[in-house]
């Protein structure tokens, strides 16, 4: 029990050191690389269709007030993603 908590803590620490975040943690103007999508097949498929998938380079264009959508650029496509969905996209800031 304690060991598993320790392990998950360590993973969290690694993630923090790795600067791994989700889309909603990035500020407008910051870029990053998508590490993956937390969530089901449906969400992943939808994001893929608009060019957001593991390995995509993204840049945050704008973020709206508390709980509002995040607008990102990937390639030359701009995509608006609702807050909840955006918080499922794991990214590494660069």
């Amino acid at each position: 029990m304690i060991r598993s908590v320790k392990r998950s803590l360590r993973e969290d620490m690694n993630r923090l050191e790795d600067k791994e975040q989700t889309l909603v943690n990035l500020n407008p103007g910051e870029s990053g690389v998508v590490r993956g999508v937390i969530g089901g097949q449906g969400v992943r498929r939808n994001l893929e269709n608009l060019g957001v998938r593991k390995g995509s380079r993204i840049k945050v264009i704008s973020r709206h007030f508390k709980g509002g959508p995040v607008v990102i650029r990937t390639g030359s496509t701009r995509v608006a993603i609702g807050f909840g969905m955006a918080s499922k996209v794991r990214v590494r800031a660069s």
């Binding site: 407008p28 498929r45 939808n46 893929e48 269709n49 608009l50 060019g51 998938r53 264009i61 704008s62 709206h64 007030f65 508390k66 709980g67 509002g68 959508p69 607008v71 390639g75 030359s76 496509t77 701009r78 995509v79 608006a80 993603i81 609702g82 807050f83 909840g84 969905m85």
Partner: protein, 576 residues
């Protein structure tokens, strides 16, 4: 007949290419049993006629949404037959977005669909530093690849010439790794050079950032309102009024004389003469007011509205508006995209209500339809309110539309609190700003005007006819007396206003017109305009809502409308 299907992602310039390919005769129709609309036209090549079909834009052939289901089904219907069929797909690709667009192309390849690829926006791609080797892409896929620019017409002729070469691609790869394969292909055919942000991009990004976007949105909406008002008023003053006064009125006066200036037939066709003359606002005959209202009073505003709407659609502004209002819309239980049905319903509630089908949940559709029926007057009604209340100055208009806005907002907040569930999330592409292709724009405007004339004129004529019968038979004064406690007591209006409420069920614009002969004070005009908007949808909207919501939800929705009308009408009567 052999078909040419235009297929591509949303916002790849399909409709501009469609306009280039086809002549003037185009028909918009719904796929049977759905609201998914597609447009058909004819293309003549070398003595042959081909049917060109512009399919709704789609990112994938996986049938996720209704539009994609329709697309898949139409592909199947067209290509499942035997060999004798030489139908072909034109897969239109946005060259500035090659990788994402190829996802759909590769799905077509997997389905062995014969096609030609159009690399559209080739000029825009060049400007933004994207070079695509179309010859190499043709070698890899084995299907003809033509760089095109729908707006300037570049490449369209080549595209038509090479339609006959459309084949299904022989490209083989592991379908599980489609994206990897796409990546390889892109790597091979695309060359990116460094580039600076273009002005359009900067502007595009400014209009989705909250601090710059909200002022821009307010400015655009005010501009839209002013343009519609000026254009509508101008068309009425300088075109339609002179036409009706100088050409139609003398003709009708002669007819009136032939009919003996009185009698039932005279009253139905011409209506009452006011001071021995025809008054197109007050006479209320089928051939006078019945024609004047839809054509001279409403059509000018409808034309202006749909022109502005088409420009907002084709330049790519609407998705940005959706992002900006997403937060607010969530408060009233909708998501940002809900602004589009709402905007549409400001033209006419019927397409607005139909557009709610794009929404995922039943809850959202119920909310959106109830809110639009209560608080959004259609352009026909708005035109009449502007004419009537606007006479007394702009402040009355502010009160009418401000009240309706606040009512919609409060009901939305309340319903969102008490209905179970919550709105799904916003997720959509934001296309770059583009100059609209004027020919495609005018074509769309024309189809919308024709649609309005077909839908509205018969209803108005029927409304005026029924009204005359109801008046002559005394039904209106009977109902008026019955409703007197409410109409006079609560709303402070004369009992004859009951007639307007009855006719409002047929056409709201005619109903507002019926207030003209009542000589109401300006506060009475304001109150009656507000309650006429809120109390119940017009028959056409009602029919759509009933079909979409079912009886139980329609009853709920109607009760909300009536309760809101009584409250708001009563309050206005006390406050004003």
């Amino acid at each position: 007949m052999d078909k040419v299907l235009l297929l591509g992602n949303p916002n790849v310039g399909k409709s501009a290419i469609f306009s280039r390919l086809t002549g003037a005769r185009v028909i918009a129709s719904n796929y049977p049993g759905t609201t998914v609309e597609f447009v058909e036209g004819l293309l003549r090549v070398g003595g042959r006629e081909l049917e060109v079909i512009d399919l709704p834009g789609t990112y994938t052939l996986d049938p996720v949404s209704e539009a994609e289901k329709v697309t898949s089904r139409m592909l199947e219907e067209t290509f499942s037959g035997d060999g004798g069929n030489s139908s072909v797909v034109i897969n239109i690709i946005d060259s500035t977005n090659l990788e994402r667009n190829l996802n759909l192309t590769f799905q077509l390849i997997e389905k062995k669909i014969p096609m030609v690829i159009a690399l559209n926006f080739c000029d825009e791609a060049r400007h933004t530093g994207v070079m695509i080797d179309s010859v190499r892409l043709e070698e890899i896929t084995g299907v003809p690849v033509v760089p095109t620019c729908g707006i300037s017409g570049e490449g369209i002729k080549t595209l038509v010439d090479r339609l006959g070469e459309g084949v299904s691609s022989g490209l083989e790869y592991d379908r599980e790794h489609r994206w990897e394969k796409i990546g390889e292909v892109v790597e091979e055919v695309q060359d990116l050079t460094h580039r600076h942000h273009s002005l359009g991009e900067t502007l595009g990004d400014l209009s989705v950032k909250p601090f710059s976007g909200i002022p821009i949105a307010i400015a655009i909406l005010l501009l839209v309102f002013e343009v519609i008002r000026y254009m509508g008023e101008g068309l009425i003053r300088f075109l339609f009024d002179p036409l009706f006064e100088n050409l139609w009125a003398p003709l009708m006066m002669r007819l009136s004389g032939l009919l003996g200036s009185d009698g039932i037939i005279h009253n139905i066709l011409i209506g009452k003469l006011i001071g021995g003359e025809i008054d197109f606002g007050e006479s209320f005959g089928i051939l006078t007011t019945g024609l004047y209202v839809p054509i001279a009073a409403v059509l000018p505003y409808i034309t202006a509205f749909y022109l502005v709407l088409s420009i907002l659609e084709d330049t790519g502004y609407l998705p940005r508006l959706a992002v900006l209002v997403d937060n607010l819309m969530h408060r009233i239980g909708l998501h940002g995209f809900g602004v589009i049905p709402m905007f549409l319903s400001a033209g006419c509630n019927v397409p607005g209500a139909l557009a709610t089908r794009l929404m995922e949940s039943r809850r959202e559709r119920f909310l959106a339809m109830t809110l639009m029926a209560i608080s959004i007057p259609c352009m026909a009604q708005t035109a009449m309110i502007m004419g009537l209340v606007g006479q007394e100055g702009v402040s009355g208009l502010f009160i009418v539309f401000g009240t309706l806005f606040l009512v919609g907002l409060s009901i939305g907040l309340i319903l969102n609190r008490f209905l179970k569930g919550r709105a799904p999330e916003l997720f959509m592409e934001i296309p770059p700003y583009r100059f609209p292709y004027w020919k495609a724009l005018l074509k769309k405007l024309w189809m919308r005007i024709i649609w309005f004339l077909k839908e509205a004129v018969p209803w108005v004529l029927a409304g005026v006819f029924i009204l005359n019968i109801l008046y002559t038979s005394g039904v209106i004064s009977f109902v008026g007396n019955l409703l007197r406690p409410v109409i006079s007591g609560v709303f402070g209006l004369p009992p004859e206003a009951a007639g307007a409420l009855i006719i409002g069920f047929l056409r709201k614009d005619v109903a507002v017109g019926m207030l003209i002969p009542l000589q109401l004070s300006s506060r009475q005009l304001i109150i009656s305009s507000v309650i006429l908007t809120m109390y119940f949808p017009c028959a056409a909207t009602f029919a759509v809502m009933l079909r979409e919501l079912g009886i139980m939800d329609m009853i709920k929705s109607a009760l909300i409308m009536l309760a809101a009308t009584l409250t708001v009408g009563g309050l206005l009567n006390l406050i004003l």
